[in-house]
Amino acid sequence: MAVRFTWFNLMPWPELPDDFRQTTRSVWVDIPNRLYDPVRGNALYHEYMDQLEYADALGFDGIGVNEHHQNGYGLMPSPNIIAASLARRTSRAAICVIGNSIALYNPPIRVAEEFAMLDVISGGRLVAGFPVGTPMDTNFCYGQIPALTRDKYAEAHELIMRAWAEDEPFAFDGKYNQLRWVNCWPKPIQKPHPPIYIPGGGSIETFDFCLDYDYNYSYLSFYGYLAARSLMDSYWERVAARGKDTSPHRAAFAQIIAVAETDAEAERLYSEHILYFFNRCLHVYAGFLDPPGYRTINTIKATSLTRLQRQQQRNLPEVTWQQLVDGGMVIAGSPETVRQRMEELIKTLHVGHVFCLFHSGNQPDDKTRYSSKLFAERVMPHLHDLWPEWDHDERWWIHPLESRVRPGPPITATPAEAPVGAGAH
């Protein structure tokens, strides 16, 4: 089984009002938090977590969660809480936490500990993601100084990897973290460490970071496989230039997918919800996208800046279903249509792992399950063997315990018999 499919849920808030973009500056950072209703949230978390568990039952290779803060399309400031529950309620799929923004944990040893807990509870099923973090999360919500973010990230990475590797307590005298006694307890099951995935946005520094350590490079775009082509081409050029093998498992890609019996049915069932995602959830204030110091000057020079003009702030064109489908932002349609386009995605981007987004925006549970099931049964089996020559490459995949413990059944009554030794004096 070469190509892997992870069922990923961003956990968006489905109750953003119709006039959200006209009345609200941003879906992220300063979104009015009165829009959040904890009673609705109670049902929603369970709906979303049930879906992730259902994906395990459908045979997806992994189930995925991520971290965002103060974000109308992400309800997981702590993905580890969701992952802990999934670790108990599933027993097969990889648990992909993509990931923890390691520069935001104080101290980052917390990530080493929590990821170790998840790996141990799940019996070695954790995929550990270490994003640098978006400016919205990292700088504006969590107050990290933009120009020092990457440096702090690098130090956090060093600390976590050492904490997992060392068998004796050690002192860590960092610029941002000083710890006299680093002694990771518990430690992960997977040795030397769980597979590590780095979400990136195209900078050569991140390509090289992944290649230096042989980590997976994950491009988690919402804009689909056609738009991703040039970035992924640059990545593979860099892989070749560095003299590394070109295993497709070095890279992963995220794609919004919607499957129905026919292309027309897909549009009828899903367009409203996917348009909700694009037209409301992605409404991020331009001033939050690139604080001075976050990106290098060379990166800024290569960026279009028209979004910074005043007239652009009032210019809110609505994207249409046809644009989404034609542009590959969404792979939607009958199982055969989706199969063809997924094959094109996997081949052209040269990836061995796809993070599949079947839930979008305000999509209801029954549609999400319908789409996921059709994919699992009628699309996925045709896509697993697209990289036969890399079939045995397990470097970027989990290595669970064969004999891992499954959660016990729910306790509904006190055991009839007292345990051995009870009552003895």
């Binding site: 950072v29 700088n139 504006f140 107050g143 100084i145 933009p146 120009a147 020092l148 610029k175 204030y285 331009a286 001033g287 939050f288 690139d290 604080p291 001075p292 110091g293 976050y294 990106r295 000057i297 800024i300 020079k301 800046l305 028209t306 910074l308 003009q309 005043r310 702030q313």
Partner: protein, 280 residues
């Protein structure tokens, strides 16, 4: 005034471009620029350099001064200010520190480190304090066209001095501004992000020097309520409010600022034993 530009190297190893001018026997004055750097308007400098020997360095990340990676925190930047004075041979000459905006925060920190080595302290719309009731706008989340509106009282001055920040800026000017701003505020962010408060208020008790505070009445970035807080925290301070000026007071009312500074200096003659033009 003949303005001279020179590049000096500090003992830390940082390259610094310094503009200077004024009579050789003039009183030494260090001017530390604000968060937008030295703008293309020399009127305040020219007025001051009639009597004083004025030095205006570019801070790391600004203009031709580089090596910003050498500086991480407030102490690094404050010592850098003194290192510049050492490199210029002014550190034993009781220099007067004038700091605007970001430079005001820095000048105050420098003076707190070595209060007896400064011959005077002038703070012009300084950053460095925080009032929950008067939150300072988040300059790191501002779009280019908002800079002009927040920093200047006059839209015309904004358009002239920070081209690229106006509503109808042409794309090249916009790009130039965004790139320069990313470099400037990227570095200044080490002192200003996410809240421009590095606990300077705890150290101001050390300033047993008469401080001149000058504030633009129309400052929309650091509103005049902060002047009251500075006055309350500084042991000895005099406040001058300038009408018709925003945060960029030195470029909006240069004559009023120069007049206030000259009056302040006249009341504080150079200390005995330190001739105005002494060299170290």
């Amino acid at each position: 005034m003949d303005v001279e530009a020179q590049t000096i190297e500090t003992r830390r190893g940082a390259q610094v471009r310094v503009f200077s001018g004024g009579p050789p026997d003039g009183r030494p004055v260090l001017f530390l620029h604000g968060l937008s750097g030295l703008l293309d308007d020399p009127r305040f400098a020219e007025l001051l350099a009639q009597d004083c020997r004025l030095f205006a360095p570019e801070l790391p990340g600004y203009g031709a001064s580089g090596d910003e990676a050498l500086f991480e925190d407030m102490l690094d930047f404050s010592l850098h200010g003194w290192d510049i004075l050492v490199a210029l041979g002014l550190d034993r000459q009781q220099p007067v520190l004038i700091g605007h905006s970001l430079g005001g925060m820095l000048a105050a920190e420098m003076a707190c480190l070595a209060p007896r080595d400064v011959g005077g302290l002038v703070l012009v719309d300084p950053l460095g304090l925080w009032l929950d009731q008067q939150p300072i706008p988040d300059v790191f989340a501002m779009l280019p066209y908002e800079f002009g509106e927040v920093l200047f009282a006059s839209a015309e001055r904004a358009a002239a001095l920070l081209p690229g920040t106006t509503d109808l800026a042409d794309p090249e000017l916009l790009r130039d501004f965004v790139i320069a701003n990313a470099r400037r505020l990227g570095t200044a962010g080490k002192l200003l992000f996410p809240i421009p408060n590095r606990r300077l208020s705890k150290r101001l008790y050390r300033l047993d020097v008469d401080v001149l505070l000058v504030w633009g009445e129309d400052d929309r970035y650091v509103p005049p309520a902060y002047a009251e807080q500075w006055t309350a925290l500084l042991p000895r301070a005099e406040l001058v409010r300038v009408p018709g000026a925003g945060h960029m007071l030195p470029y909006e009312q240069p004559a009023a600022l120069a007049e206030a500074v000259q009056a302040y200096l006249a009341r504080r003659p150079a200390p005995a034993g330190v001739p105005a033009g002494a060299s170290s």
